[in-house]
Symmetry: C2
């Protein structure tokens, strides 16, 4: 069968011919429909993050998938069921407490592998197998958009952690600031727009489809070149919730200044090392005197996938249609990996949804 | 009656002769027994934090008090009841949402005054008045130690926020690192020692009573000159919970390195501005990839006072006896404000408990 693999840091993704996998007991064989591409894929391709399974040179890409169960005996799934797979699996050393608790998303990096990212092959192939416990049911109506369940679930988990951090008092948030209107930031805007007065900060020039989407969702677009993160409270309004989706490390610190009293910033980006100066005394003081918090979040688990399914069902059709810039079939796969400032979200289609 | 007041930044505390206050409806008149002194008092005395009520030059000090109700008609309190007062009161502008919700501890700085600290007279006087709703009952057995209810309550609130931030998953913390074994740090060690494998970092030389207390509580003392905060995981063990009680701004950032995966650092210190360089990329990445959190916390409310009463009742007698270094009567009050490296906690006694 066809798969899209990469030698990290090498010459880019290519189509491989690999054997169709055989499901073990408790596993399902899934026929792949669509697999999304995101920033993590680009980091893996560039060699900056993750890598192939131990002893292998190539990694099959893809961690945002939707597919149809082909066979799944004794698993609770039936052939024809639409499913999205979670990403984390136990590491070569075997099960550990995080997987036993059903919370692989809380495993530290060394206690997990991530399919399509780090240490395990992904879902960019005509078929994949997965333990049934790592598959989440997707309604038939979401066949085209089910590859968005994974990225939305990542945002759901970050929101869950942020809310939990404010759960010991009567938090009444009204305003949210999303840093970045890339593919993850826009999902966060769509997710938060129903409940928050939401704004989204980036440094894109108009006209841009991502700015149009923010505004059509009812959000305010803030240009970081005119309104730096720390100036958002003065230029616009303080944020009860900041949702960082840029990986720009200064944002993690500047978000403390953007917060309203008792606010929380959820951090999702993954920057590399970068030394810079901060007014650490002022930031520390502001965290304390106004009960502010910073919460890091990575990955997501089955309950976040289920919540993401509900969330996507609540998104308007126009949003999904505008958000997904390009879906290409396997033979045209390079177009899904092109980086182009006007592109928001791309996917590779293995079979017609 | 006698009161201990100060002109912030002036020549230090002195005894004033002020009128005995008259309780309004809903208020209690309280005869003061003991009032503790902490780092905040020293900041107020030095002029670095807080100040007198609007239009006044002197501030009556004291925010850690225990006393006996003298009169409190129609309040639920009876003459003879032992009480500890909370610190925050509505600002001159009047009630606001935080006070209406019963969560003054979540008010931002501009939405509250703090008795004995900022904008309202404190409890260092022979009598004080307080709305009954801002008094918490203290059992008779705690007459000598009731002035510790306020500082313990501040630690309880920080612990509550820290736990809440980890409440969306199955957090199973085992290790705690307290930064600073000053008066607040030692209370945190005593509070955490029953549940956590606790260590406490400072830069004091042995022999020192604070180090002795840490070790007698079963904690490990770490010398910051040998084990910097960021090296604690390598030299000792990673901390599921960091409790920062130093106000040293670099600790807020270094604590991210000291944390175990899924750990949280509660920040309580209040530093002034201080610019320094951090590896912000690395810190941001570590927050995200291991689901770490930083939670600032200030002040405390009635429920934290009630929890603090229970907590102090659980402390061994030897701890309370060793922790309180010196209690002096009003006429010897300067001895309670002496700063001396061997001193842990001091209080002024207005009447015999």
């Amino acid at each position: 069968m066809k798969a899209i693999g990469v030698e990290p840091g090498g010459s880019g993704p290519r189509v491989l011919d690999v054997p169709r996998p055989e499901p073990s007991a408790g596993e399902a064989l899934v026929r792949t429909l669509r697999v999304g591409v995101d920033g993590t894929d680009h980091e893996v391709i560039g060699g900056g993050h993750g890598g192939p399974p131990p002893g292998e040179e190539l990694l099959v890409l893809g961690h945002e998938a939707v597919g149809v169960v082909e066979e799944a005996p004794d698993t609770g799934f039936e052939p024809g069921d639409l499913v999205a797979p979670t990403v984390r699996r136990p590491p070569p050393a075997g099960q550990n407490e995080y997987f036993r608790r059903g919370e692989p998303e809380m495993a530290p990096p060394e206690a997990t592998v991530e399919r399509g990212i780090d240490g395990a092959h992904g879902f960019m192939s005509e078929y994949f197998t997965s333990p049934a416990a790592s598959l989440v049911a997707v309604p038939d109506g979401l066949a085209r958009w089910g590859f968005l369940v994974e990225p939305v679930s990542v945002a759901e988990k970050a929101l869950e952690l942020a809310r939990a951090s404010r759960s010991s008092f009567d938090w009444q948030p009204e305003t949210a600031l999303v840093l970045g209107n890339g593919s993850l930031g826009l999902l966060a805007v769509a997710m938060l727009a129903g409940e928050f007065d939401v704004s989204c900060l980036d440094r894109k020039d108009r006209p841009h489809p991502a700015i149009d989407i923010v505004e059509r969702l009812g959000g305010a677009y803030l240009d970081a070149r005119e309104t730096p993160v720390a100036a958002v409270p003065d230029h616009h309004e303080p944020a009860d919730l900041v949702f960082e989706a840029t990986g720009h490390a200064k944002h993690a610190f500047e978000s403390i200044e953007a917060l309203a009293p008792n606010g929380v910033a959820a951090l999702l980006g993954v920057p590399g090392p970068w030394r810079f100066e901060v007014d650490g005394g002022r930031l520390h003081q502001r965290l304390v005197l106004s009960n502010r918090a910073l919460v890091g979040s990575v990955n997501s688990g089955p309950r976040h996938f289920r919540r993401a399914v509900d969330r996507i069902e609540s998104f308007p059709d126009w949003f999904l249609e505008s958000y997904v810039s390009r879906v290409v079939d396997v033979d045209s796969f390079p177009a899904a990996f092109e980086t182009n400032d006007q592109m928001i979200k791309t996917a590779v289609e293995f079979d017609t949804p």
